[in-house]
C-alpha cells in the first residue's frame, strides 16, 4: 500500500514494524511527532520523559531488559542526553536500541545549528541518514537489526527537511507488525556496569565493533554507487542528496545511507573512477574531512556553505562555481519592495502576556529561557536579555547574583515555563537554594509544553498516551526544595502580576519564586471568555494597550486631539483575556456580550 507520510510518521511506523516495545522522548522540533505517532500504535508504551537524558536512560533500561526501544530528540536534546549515549556505546544493548536525532539546519526553531553526525564519531556508534520518508521507515527497521547484530546503540539522524517533509512510502500490506517477546537479561556486570576496570576492557570492544561496522558498510545496500558522467563524482546523503540529484543530473553519485563509519573501500573505488570527488553535505564538512583523511583530495566546503540549510538554489550556485553548465537562471525579480516582516507574537489570550508587559514596564533585566515566552525578546516587549538553553535561566540568574551584578540599578529576574522547570530547572533551583542565592525566579505555569505544540509534562496530570497520572505540584516542590517565599498569581490579572513581582523583588537576602498560573489558550481548560471591544469615544490613541503585544489589537483612525491612532480589536482574534482592558488608563476597553 502506498501512503504519503512525513519522515517522522515513517520513523514511527518503522519502529512499530520493528516491534518496538518502549519509546521515550522529550518534545522538540522537528522530532516531536515521532512519539506522538508511536503513542497511537498498539503494543507500544510511549512516554514523554522529563528531559532527553532521562529518556535515553529509560530507553537503555528497556533495552537491557530485553525490549526493542527507541528514543527521539531534537539535535540539542542529544547534548542533554550525550552522557547517556557515551556509556551506552560501551555497554552495548540487549534488545535493539535506536536513537533518533532530528537536526535543524537553518535553525527554524532552535538556538543553534549543529551537525549530530559528529556524535556518531565522538561516541563511536553507527549512524544512518535517510533521504526521504521511505528511507526513514526502512532505515529504522534496519537500525534495530543492526543494533542487535553488533550489540550497539544506533543513531538515526534526520533534519527538518527529512522529518517534516512528506513523500510516498510503500508500506507492507496488512499490519506487518508482530509483538516481539522480551530477550532475557543475562547478568553481565563486565558489560553493563561501567566501573573503570570494566570501561577499560570495553573500550577495545568498541573499537573492534567500529571496525566490523565499517566492513559491514562496504557492502550494505544503503551505501550505493550510481554511475553516470565521471568528470565529477558526488558524495552525498540526507536531503542534500536529493538536491544534488536534481542539480547534478546525470553525474556519478556515491549515495551514503550510513554516515558513520564510512565504507573506505567503496569510497576509494568510487574516487578512482571519477576525475573529481565533490562532497555535497549540509553543515559540517563531515564526509569531506573523513575522505580527505583517507588521502583522497575531495572538495566540498569551498563550494557549498557550512551554515544554513541547503536548497536547490544553494546547490546550483555551488555547481556553477565548480564550472558545471547550469543554463541561465530565470530573470531575477527586481526586489522592488519587501513586505513588512511577520514576527512571531504571543497568541491572543496567552497567559504569558501580562508578565512580559510587566517586566518591560518595571525595566527589569531578565534571564530568559526556551519556550513560547522567548517571544518576550521581540518587540513590543524587548524584555528579555539572555536566552541560552533549557533551564539555563535559573543558573544564569544565580551567576549574575553571585557575581554581585544583581544590583538596585540592574535588577535581574529569571523566567522559565513549567515544562522547562521539570526539564532542567530543578537542579538549578537546588543549586540556588544550596548556595545561599537570592535570585527572583518566575515560573510561568501554563499547564503544558506550549512551544512544541501542547505536550503533556509532569505538571499536567496526563501522560502522552492519555492516562491520568499524579500531577506534580510545582509550588509544593519549590517549597520542599527550601524556598520560603513562594507567591502564586493569576496570570490573567496584570495588576496582581505586577504587585506580586514587586513583593518578590523586595526580598533580597534569599531566593523567591513567583508562579504565575493560567492555561495556554490551546487547552480545553482555557476559561470561557468574551470578546473585548474598544470604545472609540473614550480611546484617545494613547497606545498603551499596544504594549501588550497582542495580534488582536490594531491601529484605527487618528484621534482628533492627540493625532495618534486609536486602538481597535479584531473580534475574530480576541478571546477576551482582558489584559489590554486592565492596562487601559481611560477604561476605554470593555467586554461585549457574545
Amino acid at each position: 500500500m502506498k501512503r504519503i507520510l512525513s519522515g517522522n510518521e515513517a520513523i514511527a511506523y518503522g519502529a512499530y514494524l520493528a516491534g518496538v516495545r518502549y519509546a521515550s522522548a522529550y518534545p522538540g522540533t522537528p522530532s516531536t511527532e515521532i512519539l506522538e505517532n508511536l503513542a497511537r500504535m498498539s503494543d507500544v508504551r510511549a512516554e514523554w520523559a522529563s528531559n532527553e537524558k532521562v529518556a535515553l536512560d529509560a530507553v537503555a533500561g528497556a533495552s537491557y531488559g530485553g525490549a526493542r526501544a527507541l528514543a527521539a530528540m531534537k539535535h540539542v536534546g542529544l547534548n542533554v542526553a550525550s552522557e547517556s549515549l557515551f556509556y551506552l556505546a560501551y555497554s552495548g544493548v540487549n534488545g535493539g536500541l535506536v536513537l533518533i536525532s532530528a537536526d535543524d539546519p537553518g535553525a527554524f526553531s532552535s538556538q543553534n545549528e549543529q551537525d549530530n553526525r559528529n556524535y556518531a564519531r565522538f561516541a563511536k556508534v553507527p549512524c544512518f541518514e535517510p533521504s526521504d520518508s521511505q528511507e526513514c521507515m526502512d532505515y529504522v527497521l534496519l537500525a534495530f537489526d543492526l543494533s542487535e547484530q553488533f550489540d550497539t546503540p544506533v543513531l538515526v539522524r534526520t533534519t527538518t527537511r527529512i522529518s517534516h517533509s512528506k513523500s510516498v512510502v510503500q508500506i507492507p500490506e496488512g499490519d506487518g507488525h508482530e509483538p516481539r517477546p522480551l530477550k532475557a537479561f543475562v547478568r553481565d556486570p563486565a558489560k553493563y556496569a561501567m566501573i573503570p576496570a570494566n570501561a577499560r576492557r570495553r573500550h577495545p570492544v568498541v573499537e573492534e565493533r567500529l571496525r566490523k561496522l565499517a566492513e559491514w558498510a562496504e557492502t550494505a545496500s544503503v551505501n550505493r554507487i550510481e554511475w553516470g558522467k565521471k568528470n565529477i563524482g558526488i558524495v552525498a546523503s540526507s536531503v542534500a542528496y536529493q538536491y544534488a540529484h536534481e542539480i547534478f543530473d546525470g553525474y556519478s553519485f556515491l549515495k551514503l545511507g550510513m554516515s558513520y563509519p564510512l565504507p573506505e573501500k567503496l569510497i576509494r573505488q568510487f574516487a578512482a573512477q571519477v576525475d573529481k570527488v565533490v562532497v555535497v553535505e549540509e553543515l559540517d564538512p563531515f564526509y569531506e574531512t573523513e575522505i580527505r583523511a583517507m588521502g583522497i583530495p575531495a572538495v566540498g566546503k569551498e563550494y557549498f556553505p557550512r551554515s544554513n540549510e541547503f536548497s536547490l538554489s544553494v546547490v546550483r550556485d555551488g555547481a556553477r562555481k565548480l564550472g558545471v553548465e547550469m543554463g541561465p537562471d530565470p530573470a531575477p525579480v527586481a526586489a522592488a519592495f519587501q513586505p513588512p516582516a511577520r514576527l512571531p507574537a504571543l497568541c491572543p489570550g496567552c497567559p504569558h502576556r501580562s508578565t512580559f508587559y510587566t517586566l518591560k514596564k518595571m525595566k527589569l533585566y531578565v534571564a530568559g529561557d526556551i519556550g513560547c515566552y522567548a517571544i518576550g525578546v521581540l518587540p513590543p516587549f524587548n524584555a528579555i536579555d539572555t536566552v541560552s538553553c533549557m533551564g539555563a535561566s535559573f543558573g544564569v540568574a544565580h551567576g549574575i547574583d553571585a557575581a554581585g551584578a544583581n544590583s538596585a540599578k540592574q535588577r535581574w529576574v529569571a523566567v522559565l515555563g513549567d515544562s522547562t522547570f521539570f526539564h532542567a530547572g530543578l537542579p538549578a533551583l537546588a543549586n540556588i537554594v544550596y548556595n545561599r542565592g537570592a535570585s527572583t525566579l518566575l515560573i510561568l505555569d501554563n499547564d503544558t509544553t506550549g512551544m512544541t505544540g501542547q505536550q503533556e509534562n509532569p505538571g499536567t496530570g496526563r501522560t502522552l498516551q492519555g492516562a491520568k497520572t499524579q500531577k506534580i505540584d510545582i509550588e509544593a516542590v519549590v517549597r520542599a526544595m527550601g524556598v520560603q517565599d513562594v507567591f502564586i498569581v493569576d496570570a490573567f490579572d496584570e495588576p496582581a502580576v505586577e504587585a506580586t513581582i514587586k513583593k518578590a523583588l523586595a526580598i533580597t537576602d534569599r531566593p523567591s519564586v513567583v508562579i504565575s498560573k493560567g492555561p495556554c489558550v490551546f487547552l480545553d481548560q482555557y476559561p470561557e471568555k468574551y470578546v473585548d471591544e474598544v470604545d472609540q469615544d473614550k480611546c484617545n490613541g494613547c497606545s498603551l494597550c499596544f504594549r501588550v503585544g497582542c495580534p488582536g489589537l490594531y491601529k484605527g483612525e487618528l484621534d482628533a486631539k492627540t493625532k495618534k491612532p486609536k486602538a481597535l480589536i479584531d473580534p475574530l482574534l480576541c478571546i477576551g483575556c482582558d489584559v489590554c482592558l486592565q492596562v487601559c488608563p481611560r477604561d476605554a476597553i470593555h467586554r461585549v456580550d457574545s
Binding site: 527537511r161 517534516h164 517571544i375
Partner: protein, 194 residues
C-alpha cells in the same frame, strides 16, 4: 505533466498546511510521485507559513526553487508579494484578498502595503494573477474556515485533474459534518464565484 511545483504561503492558522497536504495527495491520486515540505514551529505563532508541494514522474528535492515555481497560492494578500520571487516568469499566482495585519504594523511603524504596490510586485513576474475573495466566500457559506478549500477550488481550475479526484481527497481530509460545506466551498472556488 512532467513536473509541477507549488508553493503555498500564508499566515499561521490559515490552514496552509492542510491545503498543501491535499495538493500532495491529489498528485499521488493521479499516479504521480509527490513530495511536500513545510516549516512548523515558531511560524505557528502568527508568523509566515510556507509549504512546498511537487508533483512529477520522480521527485527528488522536497521543495522547489526560487524563480521556478509553477503555481503560487497566497492565502493572504501581502504574502503573495513576499513569495512572488519564487514564481517562474509567467507562472500562475492565486491570491486570497484577505489581509492579516502583521504585528510590525500594529505595534510598530510598518504599514500594510497598498493594493497597487502588491499588484505591481506580482506583475513584475507574471500577468497570470487570479484574485479570490476566499474569506468572503467562506463566510457566505457560513464558516470562515472554508477559505482554504475555496482557494484549492481556484487552483484546481488551472490544473488538468478531474475535480472529482480533488473532492475525493478533500472529503477524506475533513471531518464528516463539514464534508458538504467543503464541497460547496471547493466548487465556489473552482467556478470563480465571488
Amino acid at each position: 505533466m512532467t513536473k509541477t511545483d507549488f508553493l503555498l504561503a500564508g499566515v499561521g492558522g490559515q490552514g496552509v498546511l492542510t491545503a498543501s497536504d491535499i495538493v500532495a495527495e491529489v498528485g499521488m491520486a493521479v499516479g504521480l510521485d509527490a513530495k511536500k515540505s513545510e516549516i512548523h514551529g515558531f511560524s505557528q505563532r502568527g508568523g509566515v507559513v510556507e509549504s512546498h508541494v511537487r508533483w512529477g514522474e520522480h521527485v527528488a528535492a522536497p521543495m522547489g526553487e526560487r524563480g521556478r515555481i509553477d503555481y503560487l497560492l497566497a492565502f493572504e494578500l501581502m504574502e503573495s508579494a513576499r513569495w512572488i520571487e519564487f514564481l517562474k516568469p509567467g507562472g500562475v499566482v492565486i491570491v486570497n484578498r484577505q489581509r492579516i495585519l502583521p504585528m510590525s504594523a500594529t505595534v510598530g511603524d510598518a504599514v500594510y502595503p497598498e493594493d497597487a504596490v502588491i499588484e505591481k510586485a506580482l506583475r513584475a513576474v507574471t500577468d497570470r494573477i487570479i484574485y479570490v475573495d476566499g474569506l468572503e466566500v467562506a463566510k457566505g457559506l457560513g464558516n470562515k474556515n472554508l477559505a482554504n478549500t475555496v482557494l484549492l477550488g481556484a487552483l484546481s481550475r488551472e490544473l488538468n485533474v478531474d475535480p472529482e479526484t480533488w473532492l475525493d481527497v478533500v472529503v477524506q481530509r475533513v471531518p464528516k459534518k463539514y464534508v458538504e460545506e467543503n464541497k460547496k466551498a471547493f466548487w465556489s472556488g473552482r467556478m470563480g464565484t465571488k
